[in-house]
């Protein structure tokens, strides 16, 4: 298989994963898809490293797979086990509308990048629109989902979009910065897990509609 075909397949898979997270009915499924997306992201980083000979990217790819593909999904899964695995997602829009809107966001990504008028390299052309779309889809998940864990997942999807942006524009941020970002994300996930469990203890629910006391 040609490397450019490989990039096509990976970019298609990333898109499908983001839309699948939006349409999920169970939170545990969303966590699994998130893990899959992070694995694919690691694959994109490896393919980019192979193509551009930026050796640092192999390390970054390893970290992506380890932290975002294994450790973070594990923490989230652990949280779900504590509060009950069979939780349904709850969203403002219906499943059909959510999927429709997220595909619209994909088009927004393409048109936004088209207007910027960049077509320097193959990787950039292929991934930049998708990365912007993933960023927007992450934000959309955060805004429209009511369950705390799903909002957290939205945040990580946003981070994945940003990682892909950096990867496609500049073959990754300086490695020190990239490691710092990973560290922040992992600690944020620990905090999300802690707060979710406490929410469950306090309200017997992780629906963020419960959080309506502070006003004015």
């Amino acid at each position: 298989m040609l490397i450019s075909d490989m990039f096509d397949v990976l970019s298609f898979a990333l898109m499908i994963c983001s839309i699948a997270i939006v349409g999920c009915q169970r939170i545990v499924t969303a966590i699994r898809i998130l893990a899959l997306q992070s694995f694919i992201l690691g694959g994109v980083a490896i393919a980019t490293a192979y193509r551009t000979h930026v050796t640092e990217l192999y390390g970054i790819a390893f970290l992506t797979i380890l932290l975002k593909g294994i450790i973070i999904p594990w923490i989230l899964h652990f949280t779900m086990r504590k509060i009950g695995l069979y939780r349904q997602t709850e969203k403002v829009f219906s499943r059909e509308w959510s999927i429709l809107i997220s595909t619209a966001l994909l088009i927004v990504g393409y048109s936004a990048i088209y207007r910027l008028g960049l077509n320097d390299t193959y990787i950039e052309k292929q991934y930049l629109p998708i990365s912007i779309a993933i960023l927007l889809i992450g934000l959309f998940v955060m805004m429209t989902h009511k369950k705390a864990v799903m909002q957290g997942i939205g945040l990580i999807v946003m981070e994945n979009g940003l990682f892909l942006t950096a990867l496609s524009m500049t073959y990754g941020m300086p490695s020190l910065v990239e490691i710092g970002v990973f560290f922040d994300v992992v600690v944020a996930v620990v905090l999300i897990s802690t707060l979710t469990r406490r929410m469950e203890q306090m309200f017997q629910s992780t629906n963020t509609d419960q959080l309506r006391r502070l006003k004015g």
Binding site: L116, L139, M142, A148, T170, V187, A188
Partner: protein, 490 residues
Amino acid sequence: MIELWVVWTPVLTACILLLLKERSKMEWIHIAGSLATTAFSLRTVWDVLIHGAIESPGGFFYVDSLSGVVLVSIAIVGFTAALHSISYIRKEIQEGSLQYNQIKRYYVLFHLFIATMVLVCMVNNMGMLWVAIEATTIVSAFLVAIYRKGEAIEAAWKYLMVCSAGIAIALLGVILVYASSVRSLGSANEVLNWTLLHSATNHLDARFMVLAFVCIMIGFGTKVGLAPMHSWLPDAHSQAPAPISAVLSGVLLNCAMLGLIRFGIVTSHAVGAAFVQHLFIGFGIISIFIAIPFIIVQQDFKRMLAFSTVEHMGIIAVAIGIGGKIGWTAALIQMFHHSMAKSMLFLASGNIAQKYHTKHIARVSGIMKVMPYTGVVFLIGGLAITGVPPMSIFTSEFGIITAGFAQGHAVLASTLVLFVAIIFGAMMFHMAKMAFGEKRERMDIGEVGRLSTVSLFIPLAFVLLLGLYMPETGQQLFQQAMLVIEGSGK
């Protein structure tokens, strides 16, 4: 290497605290660590003042007088809050609001929080600056959630979600700056370094930088608490323990503002100053405007102070937007003075909340009779924060308004005067009602704790004295920091 110690001391203190078991030992280490951090920070700023900007070998750390201004406020407010914490936490244990393991978590996180803020001031790499600002959010969200109450969890959750999403957008901005920088300077780890970016800015791609700065303005603006992204701020500031509120409002926002200013300087070199200044003025004036109704109808005094913080961040943003030598200097002085006055008010409000067991304005009256020291400080703080002469904030606000007229922003400056006057009226109305009036029955007279009273006097000294007399070294620091913003200083 004195500057390395500024970052390592709070981290080391946190590690030692983690190992300790007895509360009294924790308190001693806590105070000693805080004192050391303060001493190292002040020493570093002193070195910057005398020798100019310091860059560590390898270029990871970089402190100039601009970050020096923020570092000084971290040093002073950090120490004051540390002192206040001891009394505050003892009282909370007595009341049964906090358990033993929560105290330990509080002290450890307090020092980590200080460490992340110091890091914001000291990193050279602008990507690491982003990492440090995001780290401050995460650590302080743990602190906001320290109470096991529904409201505290709600505040922490909103804080984490709003700020993380906002700051993710800022990361997109940082990536765009990096992309622009890589294109002109070549791929290397150093191309995001401040020392390189602000000297080689003319090569940056203007098209990228416009987009980048809009992202950064929204992202860091969320963290600064500029409207309309300020929604997390009143919740987090009112639910956190009082010393943490003081640090959040007093210096954390300054740290985020520092990031905003740094990127603003780089962008204005690449695309022209007008674009950056208009964004600052726009977000600033909206923030001041939005704070007004919330302050007028406010029922919770900690929330009132939080909205006053939104107002002040707006004033600082407007001042940076107005620019010019006077505008920038006044903005920096305002940042410092706001740190002093607002941290003092939050600490005093902590004493009031612990004494009256409420945060309702209507249920508090006669503070002057119940807690004479706190009452006086609270009232002076109120006068100071609303910009009454001869207190310190009057001088900087006067400078900002003068600069506004001088730079030809007559309408803007007049609006600013009007807004500040309305807020003065509203805040004094609430605070006078709390300070005077009859004390409630069955309320014994006396302060909450010795340390929580003593700690109020440190910021009070700055608030009272700096309005009348600014020492030579202070003037020099603000002057040099202004030159950094202008683009000619170090």
